[in-house]
Every structure is written in C-alpha cells, then in structure tokens.
C-alpha cells in the first residue's frame, strides 16, 4: 500500500539535488564549451593572424630582399647580392601559397593577395629579371637607363602599399576577431551569472518544495497529535495526503492510536464493569450488575451468570444474575460441572464461542416479538485456578475479538471479586450470627438472671412470710405477753392437735389393720361355731356364737369405718374410677334396705328419673358406700314415715374438669331431723345429734364424716337441709368422671405452709410480683416494725472526736449494736487484730497520728480484713476526698455532718449480707 505511488523524502531530496547537480553540470559544460570555443578563437587569432602577419611581413621582406639583391647586383654586379634575391624569389611563392591558404576564407584579402602576387611577379618579370639580365649582359647603359627609369621602385612601392592595405585589412580582421572574442567573453560572464542565478533559484525552489512537503506533513501530524492530546479525544486520526515516510509514520501512529483506543476501550469497559459492581455486598446484586454491564458492552441481548455453590463433586452452579431473562421455559437455574456447554466450560477453563446457533435455539424475547440469537459465548470465571462461576452471553451479532478480549479481561478480576464478595457475605453472615448469638447469650443470661431473681424473690417472699408471721407473733407479744403466750400455746396446741390428729389417723389406720386380722379369725371361727356343723354345741352355745359373730361384725364395721376415715384423713385413700351401671342401683339398694324398711315398718321409695344416663363413671365402691351411709343414716333416725331416694340428672352445677355429667341424689327421711346449729357438727367424726341421741340410736357417728370425705374425693358436694323434728334431706351432687380427677388434697393450713416452704416453685408468681408493692402495710412502718438487722452486730467507730463517738455510739447502741471505738488509726488496727467479729467500720478521715486513708490502706493490706465494709465519713463537697477514700479501700462514703437516717441506710446496705 505504501509502496505504490510512493514518493519518499529521500527521493524528494535526491531529486532536488539531482536537479541542482544537473543544472551545474549543464552550466559547467556550456561554460567549458564556451571557453573552448573562445580558446580556439584566441588560438586562431594568435596562430592564424600572427602567421598571416608574419607571412605578410616575410613576403614583404622577401620582396625587399629581392629588390635589395637586385639593386646590389645591378650596382655592383656582385653575384653575392643575388643570393638573397634567389632565396626570396625561391621562397616567397611558398609563403604566398601558405598565406593564401590561411586567408582562403577571405576573398577580398585573397584578391588583394593575388594583386600583391601579380605585383610581385610583375616586378620580378619586368624589373628584377630584366635588370639582372642586363647587368649580366653588361649592358650598363641600359642598366643605368633602367635605373633611371626606375620602374621597379614604383612597383615595389605599389607592393608595399598593397601590403599595407592587406595588413591593415588583416589587422582590422584581427581586431574584429578580438572584439568578437571580447563579446564572447562578456557573453560568457553574463551566461555564468545567469546560470548562477538560475541554479540558486532552482536550488531554493527545490529546497522550499522538499522542505515544505516534509514540514507540512509533519506539521499536520503534529497538529493532529496536539489536538488529540489537548482534547484527549483519541477517536481522531491523522490524515496525510502525501505518500511518504510521514504518511507511514501517520499510519503507524494511527495504528498505534487504534490499538490504544482499543486498549482504552477495553480498559474503560473493564473499569465500567468493575465500577458497576464495586461496593456490592451480595452475590445476587453483584451477578446482576456484572451480567448487565458485560451484556451492554458486548452488545449481547441475553446473559446469565452461574456461580458455584458447594465444593468438590457436590458443587452446583446456580444462576446469580441475568440480563433479559429468557422467555418461556428456556434457560436453566442450575447445572452441574460437565453438564452441557456451560458445564463443559468449567472443565475446559477457556472461553467457548458458538456461532451459527441452530434454528431451535432459545429465543430472545422483546415486547414485540422474538429473535434468535446468532452467537453464544460462554466464559469461565476463575479464582486460584478454579472455575467458580460461568458467564453465558447470547448475542444477535457475532462476538468480535475485542468483545472476547474484554470478557477475558473482566472475568480475570471478577473471580477474585466473587470470592471476596462471597467472603464478605460469609463474614457478614458470621458477624450477624455472632451478633445474634451475643444477643441470644445476653437474653439467656438475662433470663437466667430473671429466673434466679424469681428464685430470690420466692425465697425472699418465703422469708417475708416467715418474718411477717414472726412479726405478728412479736407484735402480739408487744401488746400483751399473756395473750402472746396463750396464742403460742394455742398455736402449739393447734399444731400438736393437727399433728396428733394425723398421728391418730395414722395410728388408727395401722391399728385398724392390725385389729382386723385377729377379728377376722374371731368372725370366721364364731361363724363356724354358729353353724354348728359338728352339732357339738348346745343351742345356747350356738346363740353365744351368733352373738360373738354379730358383735364381731359390728366391731369390724366400726373398724372399717375408722379405717376409712383415718385413711381419708391421712390422705391415703385412693379413688378408683370406673364405669358403673346406674340402672342396677335401685334394685341393689332395694335388696339391701328393703328388709330394714320392713323391719321398721317404714316406706322406702326409690325414684330414678328417665334422663339419668346408665353409664356413670366414678369409684363405684365409695359411691355405694356414700349412698348406703346416707340411707342407713336415714333409716337409723327415722321411727315412722318414709325414706325416699331420688336420683336425677343435674345440669345446674358448674362442670369441673373432665366431668361429662352430674347426678343429684336426694335422700329424704321423715326422722328426728337435725337442729340448725348442729348441721356443721354432724359431719365431724364421732359426732351425732347429741349425747342422748348416741345413747338412743347407737352407732359411731363416723358414717356422715366418711361420706363427706368420699364425696369430696369423688369431686362432688354434699348438702344438708333439715329442721329438728322435721326430717332431713341430704343432697348429693356428684360428677361422672371418665378420666378421674387429680385428687385435690384438702390440707390444713399448717400442711400447706409446710408444703410451700418445701417447694417454693409451685407458688403462684403473681403473688410475688405484688411484693413488696402489693403489701398493704405502709412500707416505712413495716420497716420500723421489722427486727433490726443491726441487732447484735459489732461496729467499730474510728474517730478522734469524742463527741462524735458518743453521739454515734448512743445512736447505734439504741439499735442494739455492739459498738467499739478507736480514736485513731493505730488504735483501730490494734483493735482489728484483737477483735475478730467486727461487722463494719465507720472511718473518719481527718485524724491525728494516722489518718483515715492510711488506716484504710493498712486494713486492706491484711487479707482477712479485705471484706469488712468500711464507710468513710468525708467532708462534704470534696469530690477528690471521696475518690481518695475509694482508692484507699473504702466501701462507700457518707458526707459529714452525718444524718443518722442516711447513716443507717448506708449501714443497712452494707451489713445486709452478713
């Protein structure tokens, strides 16, 4: 390209020089030529003219010589004179011929010469020869005549003048020639000058042209470059019209610029992509930004980034960013290494470009339609020699080298970025997790603290309860010692009674059991005796045996009753809930009590309502026992009239947990009735209407109390309605409990308190929350009323002022404290060595001998004393004093002058844990 039409700088310079040299050569040659012709001219002038002149002179001389010789001879007759004559006569013609030759180009001169020759020949013929002949012939006379005539001298004169003319003409010619030479010389000079001028002009022109052509292009290049560098716009190119090295330079520069521009594009594109995703903290956002950036720069219409998740064989690449998601079902969310081209890329670790995609390849959707991508590019993103992500781009155009280079470029650093973002995400996750864990820990520790506080509060509450109980006792003591004693005794007795009642119950339970064993044998044996199977007894004996048996039976019943009651009271009785058939109940009772009714001639009615369900869940044995007790009670105290048993379904009772229905069973009699004031009493064990009743009707009086206990255990309620002499109505409400009930232990107060003391955790926390605020006592009053925590505690007062000591001592001794005093630090230390049980030290600071700070430091030096609370008594408004106190080892400080209330408060704070 450059070779064609090329006219290089070298060529230009060469051409220029060549032209100049040619000019010079031409001028030198022409000058040389001129000089040569002038030389020739001069030579001609010198040789020809001089020869002409000399020949002319020679001929003239020879003419003269001949004249002289002739004359001499004539005069003298001496032959010797004739010698020059002969020589001249012989030679002149050769000279003449030579001369004639020389001037052959000048016809006028030739004519003149021919005239001269004629003259000479005339002389010779008419003068010379005849005279000489005459002389020789000695015709002197004639010779004299001849001389007299002197025709000869005339012709010599003529020759001479002819020669003069000739010579003059010849000189004229010579001059003419010299003039011509001069002219030529002048012309040469002029020529030389004009040549010089021409050469200079040509040289200047060539120099101007060559330098101009070089400079202009260079300037154009410089201009372009300057423009580029000042604009920074590298898109411009250098245009050079010439086809020289500068053009080559420009072309090379353009090429360089192209390269730079490409590199710059690459660099700026890379930067653009990098900038896009800089600062992103999640991989998803990073992926989106990266893919979008790369897609924009490469003109791709669709793109996706897959990032590796997991390691080794389990690794899966999943989509973390996309540009124009594929429409429809095309496109995958994840792939494994080796799966498809994308997976292949993971193995190959190089960029794969696929052109000419098949017809059915996924389409790029736009709002208006769909197009098929033309080429596909799959690039791996590596970090530390491992492919950690794959970028896939689809484009409607082919990917250029530059695009691929860009992708290579950006993927190079992107691996590190992914890694660092993943790392950062991991760090953030871990940080968050650790923050969450820290918070969780804190929450847990607070919960624990809450729990421990709850425990503390519970024990505090228990302590409060105890203390309040104690306090009440003390208050009572304060009011009246006797009352107090009586109360204590009563409480004691009550406790003893409760205890003895329990002991009794337990004892009875044990005893009844122990009694029944021997009684059983009595019963069995007496029964056997009464049957009298061996017929060995008399009828009287048989009657005795019957009495023994029936008495034993009575005793057994009594013992059973006692056993039941004692079991109930000892809390040992267990209920066994099971299914019970209510339909059988009336006939059963009829069987059991029919004959008693007959005996006592009473009417016995059993009414069972229809809506009473047949299936009833309860402890059948105890249930029947209740009914039987109530019935036998009714029969026992009824002399005439009737006993009515009424069974119905009850709906008016609030259901307890798990009850499916309730029964209301009424036993009504027309007996003696129970006076109102005895209603409560009859349910107490061993109680009947009154002493007389006992005597009249017999029985133990245990039946009702046992029944009542059973009713409670079965979850029911027993009510009594009666007036003396008007009969009684016992109403039993009882639930049907398919799942039984958790027996609610009816404990007396002492037992429940004991239980509370043993298991504080069962207590209701609501009560605790109400402490201390829930307490209705005014708090200060309550505080005053408490037992002083100062009581019996030992306090050491260190002060040099006796009035202070006295005042403090009095106040503290009023609080029943043991007070010891020291008037300075030394004494204090001595006392501390002697006394072991000091609970607190009140330390004045300003003391002689050893001041408070020093004393406290000394006290704290001893390991044993490191925990004794020291309250420093400082002067008010001296913050530095207080800090010094704390440094010296004071536990707390209080400002002087002391307020006794404040002092007590501080002392309570620090003495409380002792």
């Amino acid at each position: 390209m450059i070779g064609r039409n090329r006219f290089g700088i070298r060529a230009k310079i060469f051409a220029g020089y060549l032209v100049i040299i040619l000019c010079l050569v031409v001028s030198i040659l022409s000058v040389n030529n001129q000089i040569a012709s002038m030389q020739k001219e001069r030579n001609f002038i010198i040789n020809h003219d001089i020869e002409v002149h000399s020949l002319t002179n020679e001929i003239e001389k020879q003419v003269l010589d001949m004249e002289n010789g002739q004359r001499g001879f004539i005069l003298t007759g001496d032959e010797s004179y004739l010698k020059p004559y002969d020589r001249a006569a012989d030679n002149w013609e050769s000279h003449y011929n030579r001369l004639s030759e020389l001037i052959s180009d000048k016809p006028t001169q030739q004519k003149r010469l021919a005239d001269i020759k004629t003259s000479i020949q005339n002389w010779i013929q008419y003068t010379g020869e005849p005279s000489i002949q005459l002389k020789r012939e000695n015709k002197d006379k004639e010779v004299v005549s001849f001389l007299k005539e002197d025709a000869g001298s005339k012709s010599v004169e003529q020759i001479r003048s002819q020669f003069d003319t000739f010579r003059t003409t010849e000189k004229g010619l010579t001059k003419e020639r010299a003039d011509k030479l001069d002219e030529q010389n002048k012309f040469l000079k002029t020529g030389l000058y004009s040549l010089l001028v021409i050469v200079v002009a040509v040289s200047a022109f060539i120099a101007f042209f060559v330098s101009g052509s070089i400079l202009n292009t260079i300037k154009a290049v410089v201009r372009s470059l300057t423009a580029m560098s000042s604009d920074g716009d590298l898109s411009q190119r250098i245009h050079v019209k010439t086809r020289d090295e500068i053009w080559e330079l420009a072309e090379a520069t353009n090429e360089l610029l192209n390269k730079i521009e490409r590199r710059e594009w690459l660099q700026s594109s890379t930067n653009q992509v990098v900038e896009r995703y800089q600062g992103t903290s999640t991989i998803k956002v990073l992926g989106e930004k990266f893919v979008t950036g790369v897609a924009h720069l490469t003109g791709a219409s669709m793109g996706a980034l897959y990032v590796r998740e997991g390691n080794g064989e389990k690794s899966v690449f999943s989509k973390k960013g996309s540009f124009s998601e594929p429409m429809g079902e095309a496109g995958r969310e994840t792939f494994k290494p080796g799966e498809g081209l994308v997976g292949q890329c993971v193995f190959e670790k190089r960029i794969l470009v696929v052109e000419k995609l098949p017809e059915n390849y996924q389409v790029i959707g736009t709002g208006l339609g769909e197009v098929r991508p033309r080429s596909l590019l799959i690039a791996p993103v590596s970090n530390e020699q491992e492919v950690i992500a794959v970028l896939e781009l689809a484009s409607l155009e082919a990917f250029t080298e530059q695009h691929i280079e860009l992708i290579e470029n950006v993927t190079k650093t992107f691996g590190l970025t992914i890694d660092s973002v993943l790392g950062r995400m991991e760090i953030v996750r871990l940080l968050k997790e650790s923050q969450a864990m820290t918070e969780e820990l804190q929450a847990q520790s607070e919960e624990l603290q809450t729990q421990s506080e709850e425990l503390q509060m519970q024990s505090e509450e228990l302590r409060m309860i105890n203390e309040q109980l104690e306090q009440r006792t003390l208050e009572a003591e304060d009011r009246s010692a006797e009352l107090q004693n009586a109360k204590i005794q009563l409480e004691e007795k009550a406790k003893q009674l409760t205890l003895s009642s329990r002991y009794k119950s337990e004892f009875l339970a044990n005893m009844s059991h122990e009694l029944r064993t021997p009684l059983n044998s009595i019963l069995i044996l007496s029964e056997m005796l009464a049957e009298n199977s061996s017929k060995g007894l008399s009828s009287e004996d048989e009657e005795f045996a019957n009495v023994i048996h029936s008495s034993g039976q009575d005793l057994l019943n009594l013992i059973n009753d006692i056993l039941d009651l004692s079991k109930v009271e000892a809390g040992k009785l267990e209920m066994h809930f099971s299914e019970m058939n209510m339909s059988e109940l009336p006939s059963q009772l009829e069987r059991n009590f029919g004959h008693i009714a007959d005996q006592k001639k009473l009417k016995f009615e059993i009414i069972k309502e229809r809506d009473v369900p047949d299936i009833f869940y309860t402890d059948e044995k105890r249930f029947q026992q209740i009914i039987k007790n109530l019935l036998s009670n009714a029969f026992k105290f009824t002399e005439e009239g009737k006993v009515v048993l009424h069974i119905e379904k009850e709906s008016g009772v609030p259901l307890v947990d798990g009850a499916d229905h309730w029964l209301k069973i009424t036993v009504k009699d027309t007996g003696i009735g129970i006076p109102k004031n005895k209603h409560d009493l009859i349910f107490e064990a061993f109680q009947q209407g009154d002493g007389a009743t006992v005597r009249k009707y017999g029985g133990t009086g245990l039946g009702l109390s046992i029944s009542l206990e059973f009713v409670k255990l079965l979850g029911g309620r027993l009510e009594l309605e009666s007036e003396e002499g008007e009969g009684s109505t016992f109403t039993l409400y009882i639930p049907s409990l398919p799942n039984g009930i958790v027996p609610v232990q009816e404990m007396d107060e002492a037992v429940s308190e004991a239980a509370a003391a043993l298991s504080p955790y069962i207590k209701d926390e609501n009560q605790m929350m109400e402490e201390p605020g829930g307490n209705n006592l005014p708090v200060h009053e309550q505080a005053r009323a408490d037992i002083s925590s100062f009581q019996g505690k030992t306090v050491l007062i260190v002060d040099d002022d006796y009035r202070n000591i006295f005042a403090l001592k009095t106040a503290l001794e009023n609080e029943k404290m043991n007070v010891i005093t020291a008037s300075n630090g030394n004494e204090c230390l001595e006392l501390l060595q002697k006394e072991q049980n000091i609970d607190m030290i009140l330390m004045d600071i300003m003391m002689p001998v050893m001041d408070g700070y020093e004393t406290m430091r000394r006290i704290r030096e001893n390991e044993e004393n490191s925990r004794i609370p020291i309250i420093a008594l400082t002067a008010k408004a001296m913050k530095s004093d207080r800090e010094k106190c704390l440094e010296a080892g004071a536990t707390d400080y209080i400002s002087k002058p002391l307020k006794i209330e404040q002092l007590f408060s501080v002392m309570r704070v620090w003495i409380t844990n002792k």
Partner: protein, 284 residues
Amino acid sequence: MNNQMIVTDDELEIGYVENLEADLLLEAIFRLSGFDFRKYMRASIIRRIQNRMRLERIPTITRLHEKVVHEKGFLEKMLNDFSINVTEMFRDPEFFKAFRQHVVPELRKLPEIRVWHAGCATGEEVYSMAILLEEEGLSEKTTIYATDMNEKVLEKAKQGTFSLMKMQTYTRNYIQAGGKEAFSEYYSADEHFAYFHPSLLRNISFAQHNLVTDSSFNEFHVIICRNVLIYFTAELQNQVQGLFYESLCPRGFLGLGNKESLRFSEKTPYYNEFAAADKIYRKR
C-alpha cells in the same frame, strides 16, 4: 438470609411440633391481649414457655394454650413470664459514664430535653438517669418518659423501691459511673428495701407502651433502650429501630445495651457512632 438460618437452626433444635404449638400459643396471646410476641426470638420465648410448663407441671404447650385461653388469670401470668425485667441501677457503669462525659455536654446546649426510656422494666435505669441528670444540673429542663409494656413492672417502677440486697452492687455501679455525691443521698433504707427519694420522680412520667405494636408518641432528644432488642428477631429489631429513628429529633442520641449493636440495622447509615464502645449513637 442469615436470620432465616438462625430461625431454621432454632426450629431444628426446638422441633417442628413444638414450634407449631408455640406459633399457635403466641397467636392466641396476641389476639387475646394485644401483646405480640410472634417476632420475639423464638428460642427465648420457648424457654420462657418451658419454664412456665415446668412450674405448672404441664407436659405440652397445647395444654398450656388451653389454660391461657380458658383459665382466668393465666394469660396475665404468661404475659408476665414473657416480660423479662432484668435491670439494675447504673447497669454497665461505663455507659452512664460515657453518657455523663460525652452526651451531657451536648444536652446542656438544649433549652429542654426529652428522654425516652423504652423498656424501662422496674425502673432502675430510669432512676439512675434521673440521678445523673440531677447531678449534672439538667433535671429541671428534662422530662424522662419511661415506658414498658408490662404495667405491673411500671407500678413497681413508680415506687422507686429496690431490694436492699442489690444496693451494694448499685452503689459500686454508681461510683464507677462517675457519681458525684454519696449514693446514700438518694435513698433511705430499711431492713429489706432502699426507698429512693420521691423528688427524683419529679420529671419522670411512666406510661405503658409496647414497642412492637405501638407507634411513636413524641420527639425525643435521647432514647435509651437497653437489652430489649436482644429478645427480638432481626426483622422486629429493624422495625423498632425504625420507630426509634422516627421518634428521635435530628442530632438526637440513641443508647443501646452493651451486647446490642446498630451495625446490622437498616438504619445504620442514618447514625454516627458517637461513643461506639458504649453503644451510644447519634442521629445524623
């Protein structure tokens, strides 16, 4: 993502069924009482529930659920269980020291100061703040709004009566927090309790407020909410941080518990770390 993971771990730990039961229980409690514990840290809530189950000797959460719904007074008991009221006076003394040293000089410039103490529990820290502001001579222009969702603890807070046993700790805290007087200037004690002088209550108003369900009620210069957010999931923490942000005037201060952080909150960019080590942040 992270948060979900933690919850997932929790769920694995707790078990699917138990978690379901807890969901239902919390839903019921929310509907019955308006107290929303659904976004509380599940592990913590479960532990509180289990604690109650242990006390009541109830084997499953569902049984507990029944009691909550049907048994009178039980709901209140549960609510009490969920409100954890661990606090102490001048808790983390460095916080109060930093507050005294760095925040107080800023507050001096203000004509009036409103402080919101969110989740004040039994009020120990409210009294601490009142003492601090009194010592700094700011109490006259300060109003402290102390709120908690639990009215019972608020009642307790209003009394300003704290167990004597804790007073040793409180005294040490007070001293470490840079107390300027003798701590005993502020209370009188009997054998069981220390009674803080009612004059401290002058500028404190107690009110019931639920951070989860209630909105902002004023604009404050200082918001103190310490060791409350630790019971919340990240989502709820963000929500509450949003509430604080709304309630804080420009250049206002936010004080958090020493295990808490604003670092992962959505509101992080809107605060400067004022005394980061002591968890005091300042709104931009």
